[in-house]
Amino acid sequence: MIHIGGISFDLDFFLKYLFNPPEMIWHGILMTIAIAIIAQVAGVVLGFGVAIARLSKFAMLRGLAGLYSWAWRGTPVLVQLLIVYTGVAAAGVYRYPEIALGPLLISGPLQAALITLSLNEAAYMGEIFRGAIQTIDRGQIDAARAIGMRPSTAMRWVILPQAMRTVIPPLGNEFTLMIKGTSLLSVIGVRELFGSVQNINSATFKTFELFLIAAIWYLAMTTVLSIVQRFVEARLRRHELPAAATVKPNRSLLSAR
């Protein structure tokens, strides 16, 4: 037991729970990862839709998407979470019955969590996609159309691959925020990492040790993510690197003159 100022730090407990985490912490970590991935993927897909709507030629669609983006980005996630969970249930719109997916039981709070985080993320990803698509040179679209691509074909094979290069760095940041943001879900009783830790805390009262352990785990997850992100970005940039054996103008055709 170490004493720092007024608090005492139980080093044995800390090391034991850090290196030999109980089932509950493992479960929490897995939940955190699963929730973050699902919500991020949903956010990317929906966000792409938001971006397409914001760039639509139909003013009505543009307006609706703008409104969506404005509302979800302008309010705190915590408030959104409580509105989606308690508000929607209280209004009788949807009462979050448990859903059985094979062996998995998806609790009401978890459903509300996934819905909130996905819809929130869609607003941010929508802005990111919109910006990325808008930076693409008009000439790219002209060239795609000129070889007979329909708008959807051009989007899939010309615009999106180029937009992804712009999207990946902020997407990585979004995912980092997402992982950290899942800690809010403990408020409505989702047993992700922070929820699990709080649960253990209420039995052991080792608050400082446990929260430090949670912080270390979050740090580990975001660090792994940033390494993956760097790798992906390097891959996406590979065609920007000049060739090792470069490029003398090919003169063979000049001989004709």
Partner: protein
């Protein structure tokens, strides 16, 4: 080196003027086009026969780019008609009325109209080979292996057999433009549109692109070429068409355009180029 591109079954005589009696590949009839309040094309008519090479000249802002972009409907026209290969571009005709086609329907027409841009507009995320393949594979849904062989042959023919796996950023301007030509040819177009294909190039790479175009013309490709390269115009074209303020003001053989009996207009234009 010998280039054989495009179709060689056209033995049409290379005469200037409108070859009467032949079904034109491109027919531009009384085309009007405005951007906002400003009228850019003021009733342009132009027929281009199969295998013909038409060079479009004119001062900056005279509407050359706009006309070329109207032909494959990258720009919508306000009035008039454009036919390519006998098909009305961009509109359906129903009971004498013109109804604009959807982007998807227009896309079908564009498959047969090759276009080469001033700024190349290669797809930067694809290699040279992939740039050439993407049309046949993703638009025509042809098998990749077959397309790859054709694309490799096309790139070899424009002198880039060694560069197939380079990305555009690893190619010089002239090389990029030749890839762009190969990309358009991969769709087996019945006409090729060129909008100042060499004016964004370093002077030393201009000729490699012009040589490819020369050989395309020799192979019988129908071409509409906006260019300031007067040597190319004189040597390669069948007809020189001059635009001024959104209208065609002169059209004739290169001999007439460059010869002793040339008009005051072409004199003025040519001396302004010097």
């Amino acid at each position: 080196m010998v280039l054989e591109l495009g179709m060689s079954d056209t033995s049409m005589e290379r005469t200037g003027g409108n070859p009467a009696g032949l079904q034109p590949i491109v027919r531009v009839a009384d085309v009007h086009k405005s951007f906002g309040q400003v009228q850019i094309l003021k009733g342009v008519s132009l027929d281009v026969a199969r295998g013909e090479v038409v060079v479009l000249v004119g001062r900056s802002g005279s509407g050359k780019t706009t006309l070329v972009r109207c032909i494959n409907r990258l720009e919508l026209i306000d009035k008039g008609r454009i036919y390519v290969d006998g098909e009305l571009i961009g509109y359906k005709e129903k009971a004498g009325k013109l109804i604009p086609e959807s982007e998807a329907a227009v896309a079908r027409h564009r498959r047969h109209i090759g276009m080469v841009f001033q700024r190349f507009n290669l797809f930067p995320h694809l290699t040279a080979l992939e740039n050439v393949m993407v049309g046949p594979v993703r638009v025509l849904h042809r098998p990749k292996s077959e397309v790859q062989q054709e694309a490799q042959a096309l790139l070899a023919k424009v002198g880039l057999g060694e560069k197939v796996h380079n990305y555009p950023s690893q190619l010089s301007g002239g090389q990029q433009q030749r890839v762009a030509i190969a990309r358009a040819l991969a769709m087996k177009p019945s006409v090729m549109l060129f909008d100042e294909p060499t004016s964004a190039l370093d002077p030393e790479t201009v000729d490699e692109v012009l040589d490819v175009m020369r050989n395309l013309a020799k192979g019988g490709m129908t071409m509409i070429v906006v260019t300031h390269e007067m040597r190319f115009a004189r040597d390669v074209s069948d007809r020189i068409v001059m635009m001024e303020a959104g209208a065609i003001v002169e059209a004739g053989t290169p001999e007439a355009f460059f010869g002793n009996s040339r008009s005051e207009r072409s004199k003025a234009f040519l001396s302004a180029l010097q």
